[in-house]
Amino acid sequence: MERKLPPVDVILVGFGWTAAILGQELTDAGLNVLALERGGWRDTSTDFAVTFAQDELRYMERKALFQEPARDTLTFRNSPSESALPMRHLGSFLPATGVGGAGIHWNGQTWRFLPSDFVAKSHNTQRYGALADGMTIQDWGVTYDELEPYYDKFEYLCGISGKAGNLNGKIQDGGNPFEGARKRDYPNPPLDMVYAPTLFEKAAAETGHKPFPCPAANMSRPYTNPLGVTLGPCTYCGFCEKFGCGNYSKSSPQTTILPVLMRKKNFELRTQCEVLRVNHDDVAKRATGVVYVDAQGEEWEQPAEIVVLCAFAQHNPWLMMLSDIGKRYDVQSGEGVVGKNYAYQIVSGVDVFFDDKIMNPFVGAGALGIGIDEYNGDNFDHGGLGFIGGGYLACWQTNGRPIEYHPTPKGTPKWGTKWKKAVAKNYLTSLSISTHGAVMSHRNNYLDLDPTYHDTHGRPLLRLTFDYTDNEHKMSDYLTDRAEEIAKAMNARDIYAKKRTGHYSIVPYQTTHNTGGAIMGTDPKSSVVNRYLQSWDLHNLFVMGACVFPQNPGYNPTGTVGALTYWAADAIKNQYLKKQGPLVQA
């Protein structure tokens, strides 16, 4: 039986990127803020020290920084007609646990979505007519222009290294000419470039593209952010994504916000405290607080004036379902919203093998690369192609960690003498072009509660039903073909284009870009939160993270997650605190 604690102004559920931003913003506004984190405290000097951070087995293969399925997992199936089974160990995606969340182990690829991405439904139907059968994409209810100042704020918090492609409508040489107009350049210049991306840059330019250095949360030089927190220059150690940075040179809550936030007297963090449910008063249309369980199994009721769900993408809609907030999505009728429009990413690659070009793949950083954006979003005419959406192509050099990275040409056996020879021959002299594509939401891709399996607290597991549709396969094939054309312009010995075939599988690692389930929009009938990420049902409940994306565009999500968090923080501070109630009338 839980005991009731004295109330606080704001509860943040989870303590990763979005909670750190909100903690900082809302304590600045004078509120008493409490963050409840299910994992433990982690910091650079104690947990990611350069004396041991470069341990591929421990961090990548044994997943030391990630969520443990023994404690919390989900069940998965490809279609509503199958039986879902538990994800027994991590694979396709890597949610975190602990302070900093996935903001510790991300790559740092920090993009803005295209202006047209925010109006995907209206834009695409206007240009190409009716959507494919079953596609359930929506407009976001917020525009790129509205978010621009908040993208800027996140980029300057993080110290993103990059090159503007569109300054106030004026296209800039060397940047991404397809990006939405930005008011000012990135806070830091691009990273120094290793060899492989420069080969891609040359081939891409020769084939008529406009390559640019990808925006990176790896510091190209020492940087002090607006909060006064200083980050060090990236050392290109190649233990970046899936690892904690030992050099204070990848943006994370620890390296950008926590040194300021943790010292504030009106902020409190409780670790090893897992929120079980949100309490609410449906007559007053308010959340009244949360119930959480601590590491010893004691349950506590924590009242609050404002509750913000800041857990990882799919955990927020799960918590809403467990708390009986909002109408759950029903795949049969298509009605209901909580759990609707789960989406992901579709990625593919083209490996390129040389005889004589030494790449030194171990010299890398999580967001070190050159990209092109000709085939993203609606940057190209989709007429007659049979799909909408797109993605970027990039040559990243993130790492040469050999358990994960030992490329071999097509047809090489997976073991034995031939495998060993191929690994030895190609390790230093290969590169890969990645495609990173959008996933449009579909009525059969959704989250709900599993009828069979439970977590350690006896709660039903989240059930994920997801597969790629024709739209994704056609789009990904199109991107892979373009990547192969560029690969051919590199005069390599061998090219191995790995197209995506068959069903989505939860087994191999792909990306941790899980989206949807608590989507934002303009109408409570088709969305869970309004344009300010405020629940339509409980006006003092806000929901952060990629779970609010109505569908997933062709970029990595964190830049937009950061921008939306600042946008929501602004609405809470400047609108909600003045007049508590719905910020948008349903």
């Binding site: 004295p6 008493n32 041991f52 044994r62 023994a70 199936r77 994800m87 690994v423 087994v507």
Partner: protein
């Protein structure tokens, strides 16, 4: 907890810092509260523990014989250098299977159990250590039936390759264990043992890293970023140092 309860009216007029919240007096040891400070204790770094050298801890003699033979086929010794056996992969597997990985202690291991689709991943009720134990026994039994009572380790290299290929492709069915699940895990763990930091018992003398030219647990490549196309020939280092250097000499 000293923080004064905040009424909705207080919230509406928020603009001043409200009294700080402090740690719960009766909070359990594991759950912690932090406010007004950055928790940091000198010397508290969470460094890994190298394996202890010495006898096998999990594997039986028969299992060692199987694994020595099998990893020698997966990553053979040849003119390029040592193979998985010489690099200590059997020791690596022993320590992994005897530890948290072998127990599947971070895995979700609640029933009910069903086979499921390939896209749904591992669905065996066996922990990794149990899967190895059952599979090795079953492979030796299978070999015994096919090759006149011989165990896997007693077969010729070609015969061993034939068995391993059969496991990989699903042509060899095992009694009491899922052959494909086992082979997938075994191959992955062998590669891990060959390429992971030597502190875990494999990659002895950094043989795996030397084979491909991976410099190991370094953390600053700034001087080399612009050396496009140049072979760097950096000797590999592990987390605990490298041969010829240690902190005590």
């Amino acid at each position: 907890m000293a923080g004064s309860p905040v009424s909705r009216r207080d919230l509406l007029s928020a603009g001043v810092v409200i009294g700080s919240t402090v740690a719960l007096g009766n909070q359990p040891a594991e759950a912690r509260s932090y406010s007004g400070e950055i928790p940091w204790t000198p010397g508290e770094a969470n460094a890994p523990t190298p394996i202890k050298p010495g006898p096998f801890q999990y594997l039986t003699q028969d299992e060692v014989a199987f694994l020595d033979a099998a990893v020698s086929r997966l990553i053979p010794a040849d003119d390029l250098g040592p193979g998985a056996k010489e690099a200590g992969v059997t020791t690596f597997l022993d320590r992994q299977l005897g530890g948290a990985f072998g127990k599947g202690s971070s895995w979700y291991m609640q029933g009910p159990w069903k086979k499921g689709e390939v896209t749904q991943g591992y669905q065996s009720r066996m922990s990794p250590a149990e899967l190895y134990r059952a599979s090795i026994k079953a492979v030796d039994a299978y070999c015994g039936g096919k090759f006149g009572g011989k165990k896997f380790s007693q077969l010729s290299a070609d015969q061993q390759d034939e068995i391993l290929s059969g496991l990989e492709k699903g042509d060899v069915k095992l009694e009491g264990a899922d052959a494909e699940s086992f082979f997938t895990m075994f191959l992955q763990n062998t590669v891990e043992g060959f390429f992971s930091d030597p502190l875990y018992g494999g990659n002895r003398d950094m043989a795996g890293w030397k084979l491909i030219g991976f410099p190991g647990a370094r953390y600053d490549y700034r001087p080399y970023v612009k050396k496009h196309g140049e072979k760097l020939n950096l000797p590999p280092v592990g987390i605990t140092g490298r041969p010829g250097w240690n902190s005590n000499t």
